[in-house]
Symmetry: C2
Subunit: 183 residues, 2 copies
DNA sequence: CCCTTTTGAGACGGCTTCGTCTCATTAGGC
DNA sequence: GCCTAATGAGACGAAGCCGTCTCAAAAGGG
């Protein structure tokens, strides 16, 4: 009988990804439970969003761990990362735009850790000579977030095929649109 | 005495860019007018957003015209485009995320025109051999929107210098992160 | 088979925002 | 200097959503 908190979170993530302004009632219905039960597990909307943020952080940390960003070439590490992060792209896109709403508020420190790990990957690529040095690691990190969000929305609306998601993102981020003469 | 409608729109755009959930009262105060006057010019919040969408569309069309996307190399055309669109990046970012909220609703047909013109640019680059053909024009268009949004937010939060905005976007989109061995 | 725990349904008040309205004030043309 | 039109300030009800509460029903363990 007891509600699976994690499953509620995941269904909430899926719904809020599609419609970021969903009400608590819609979130509850999507999870197949009543609004009362939803409130018993999450004190309020803020608590729900913060729990989603926590979930997103955990997923990201896990993805970063699995991707072994320190191994092999930075390019391949980045490809592994994008591939691994694909299942969580929707949640990430939601959290990314949600963060823009918290104007003055201090953001969760966990994101600083994620940002640092991503920036370190780009910096490693620059130091090894794989990546160009005129694009800052901070910007590449930001661009990665943006492309993940764009990709998630484009797939959701059918503008891009789901199977191409990780390829399109990784290739654009790594190689850009220009046709390569070398390699 | 009479209120300058266009100026109200622009201040609303600037505010909503920073805080997409601003109330009508905040929008009015930001424009230096009363809520009553704001309502005299825009029937409601929906009307305001739609007017902003119209403004964004006009700006985009104007930018596309000024950029002369058909002239010269596709790369240079894209660089001109990004440079020209910079002043409107905030409004674009707002409208881009706002569109995600209108789940089922049919979006303004004007965006289809913009999309088509952008996709045509990327297709031209592919046909001329400048751009790779494994990234679809639709995805490149989507990625351009995403990077503009990310860039606008990154500049707003101070993670990227404002002066680097167009360079970072155009270079990443065109050349990617990989270091080029050839020219 | 009973008893405890969890859930669902719904009601309730409160809060925020919206859209409308009124009325006094002010700006600016004539 | 008057007259008209626009504006500001504020009140008002309506609507939507939230958070809490109650109570009956259902589940599931012992």
């Amino acid at each position: 009988m007891s509600v699976d908190r994690d499953q509620v979170l995941r269904s909430a993530a899926a719904l809020l990804t599609r419609k970021a302004t969903s009400t608590m009632d819609e979130v509850a219905r999507a999870a197949g439970i009543s609004r009362a039960t939803l409130h018993r597990h999450f004190a309020g909307r803020d608590a729900l969003v913060r729990a989603l943020e926590e979930l997103g952080l955990q997923e990201c940390e896990a993805v970063l761990d699995r991707s072994e960003l320190g191994a092999g070439s930075a390019q391949d590490a980045l490809r592994r990362l994008v591939k691994e992060i694909e299942p969580h792209a929707g949640l990430l896109a939601f959290l990314y735009t949600e963060n823009q709403l918290f104007e003055g508020d201090t953001q969760h420190e966990g994101w600083a850790r994620i940002d640092a790990r991503l920036a370190a990957l780009f910096r490693r690529g620059q130091e090894s000579g794989e990546f160009r040095i005129d694009l800052t690691p901070a910007w590449l990190t930001e661009a990665l977030y943006g492309l993940i969000g764009s990709g998630a929305w484009a797939v959701q609306d059918g503008r891009v095929a789901a199977k191409d998601f990780s390829y399109m993102i990784a290739e654009l981020l790594i190689g850009g649109a220009r046709r390569r003469v070398d390699s």
